[in-house]
């Protein structure tokens, strides 16, 4: 709704758009309290927002300028009502969300700010929800969003998704933001599990929207969507019945969402066009191998290692190197895995990452050096970011002692 209204008012009037949504909600609550909620609350709310928007346009018409490309049409009674009607149409709203998504990924904004803004404006997350998703304070997120909004308002006009060259130029930034959004939900450090699944779902929804736009259906978007589906298919098994985190090796694979797996495989196939090979392609391919393995032992680790090699070539990072080392260990034994970990350049950057120490612990444990393993798990435990991680690592420490 905010996206549609920002289209009407212009991006420099973002605050007005939010006020109007607020007003619409207040009116809705007032009326619903007296007459009871209508049968179709969202349609009712949309109609109310439309009326509030019209009121605001008439009230503020002399004091403000609105969306520059529509300015003239919004100033006059000849066209204002039918135009607002048109801008609130279903297709128009979808376009507006897309436009807003691209606007949020403004190069002047940091990636964190982009993701926070998308969550706030497009997904309707409250500041508190975003703060808990990012393990940050309410005040810090509020400041981040306020600053990002100001930067966005200065940009004067919303991103025009109809200009092919600009769309294509900004698409990688949008991919990146959606990827971060998904990962925040999947691996994120949030203490609240429920919020995290929600983040994944929102990232998937927005990616699907990207795939509905002719310019958005690139091989990279398909790969990103495939990656999300394939990883999300494992979500139901990430936490076991007792509420404990379950590693890929121990997960009850019968709980994996087969519908998402087949959807992901289909998308992966669609991504295999053209010459572009992105990190999303590789990550999706790795996820597809996991998804197709009925048991950990049945996993094609050799292919996974070679996919990680490719990923290291196009998007090297210590975390990718760590995951590669774990795959090597699966294939050639824990000693080889430890060797690989020791040879990671920039290993110090992993120091604060609990699963780095946990991986060392796991491999030492497997080759029977329980004492060393326990030290590593203890180090990981000290870095754990939420109760679930703590419980998981606690159990590993106990296993070393048992």
């Amino acid at each position: 709704m905010v996206a549609a209204l920002t289209r009407v008012f212009g991006v420099h009037n973002l605050a007005l758009a939010e006020d109007v949504v607020q007003e619409a909600f207040c009116r809705a609550l007032e009326v619903w309290r007296v007459r009871g909620a209508p049968q179709n609350p969202s349609a009712w709310l949309m109609a109310t927002a439309k009326n509030c928007a019209l009121d605001a346009l008439r009230r503020e018409r002399t004091a403000r300028t609105f969306a520059p490309e529509l300015g003239r049409l919004l100033q006059t009674e000849w066209t204002v009502a039918p135009l607002v009607e048109e801008l609130f149409g279903t297709n128009a709203i979808k376009d507006d969300q897309l436009r807003m998504m691209f606007s949020c990924c403004h190069p002047r904004l940091s990636e964190e700010a982009q993701v926070a803004l998308i969550l706030h404006i497009l997904c309707g997350f409250s500041v508190d929800e975003i703060a808990s998703a990012f393990v940050s304070s309410h005040a810090a997120i509020e400041k981040r969003i306020a600053r990002a909004k100001k930067a966005l308002e200065k940009s004067k006009r919303l991103f025009d998704v109809a200009i092919a060259a600009e769309f294509t130029a900004r698409l990688p930034a949008v991919h990146r933001a959606l990827y971060l959004l998904f990962n925040e939900g999947y691996h994120g450090a949030s203490p609240e599990a429920a919020v995290r699944v929600e983040l994944c779902r929102e990232a998937m929804r927005l990616t699907a929207m990207l795939l509905e736009h002719p310019l958005g259906t690139t091989s990279a978007t398909y790969a990103l969507a495939a990656l999300m589906c394939l990883n999300a298919s494992r979500l139901p098994a990430r936490v076991d019945a007792a509420g404990n985190l379950s590693s890929l090796f121990d997960q009850d694979r019968s709980q994996w969402d087969q519908e998402l797996v087949s959807e992901g495989l289909k998308l992966l196939e669609l991504s295999a066009t053209g010459s572009e090979l992105t990190g999303y392609h590789i990550e999706a391919a790795i996820a597809s191998i996991h998804a197709c393995a009925l048991r950990t032992e049945g996993t094609d680790w050799e292919t996974i290692v070679s996919l990680y090699d490719t990923l290291m070539a196009i998007r090297p990072s210590p975390i990718v190197a760590l995951n590669r080392a774990i795959a090597v260990a699966q294939n050639e034994g824990p000693e080889r895995g430890l060797e690989e970990i020791r040879s990671i350049t920039e290993r110090d950057r992993l120091a604060a990452y609990p699963f780095y120490s946990a991986a060392l612990g796991e491999l030492e444990f497997r080759r029977g050096r329980r004492e060393t393993a326990r030290e590593h798990f203890r180090a990981a435990l000290a870095l754990a970011r939420n109760p679930m991680e703590r419980r998981f690592l606690d159990q590993r420490v106990s296993a070393c002692e048992g």
């Binding site: 003239r72 049409l73 006059t76 009674e77 000849w78 039918p82 048109e86």
Partner: protein, 113 residues
């Protein structure tokens, strides 16, 4: 570039909601076209069919405008065009012509004071 006023007359008065919706859409389309071409100087407004007429030194107030429905000015806008011929050409796209109305095209007089 010169300025011209379009005076719209003779709006159809009885509409079904669907007809009205459709008619408004044609106005929006026409406005968009003019706006894109940079012809709109001031979009003006449609006018209600009721009002008062004030006349003479005595400032007599009457209900008005008294003219027949087809003569009542139903709205106005200010446009920019090369000359009268061009302005007339522009006016031919007006949706009011499709519902029995008329457009009066009048050059804006510039007073040199």
């Amino acid at each position: 570039m010169s300025e011209f006023t379009f005076l719209f007359r003779g709006r159809k008065t009885s509409w079904s909601p669907e007809e009205l919706q459709k008619h408004y859409e044609t106005w929006v389309a026409w406005f968009k076209e003019l706006n894109a071409k940079g012809h709109i100087k001031d979009p003006g407004h449609p006018l209600e069919n009721v009002g008062k007429v004030v006349q003479g030194k005595q400032k007599v107030v009457n209900d008005g405008p008294y003219a027949e429905a087809k003569d009542i000015v139903g709205g106005y806008m200010l446009i920019e065009a090369d000359d009268l011929v061009h302005a007339v050409e522009i006016s031919k796209g007006c949706p009011i012509l499709e519902v029995g109305g008329s457009v009066e095209v009048r050059p804006v007089q510039k007073l040199n004071m």
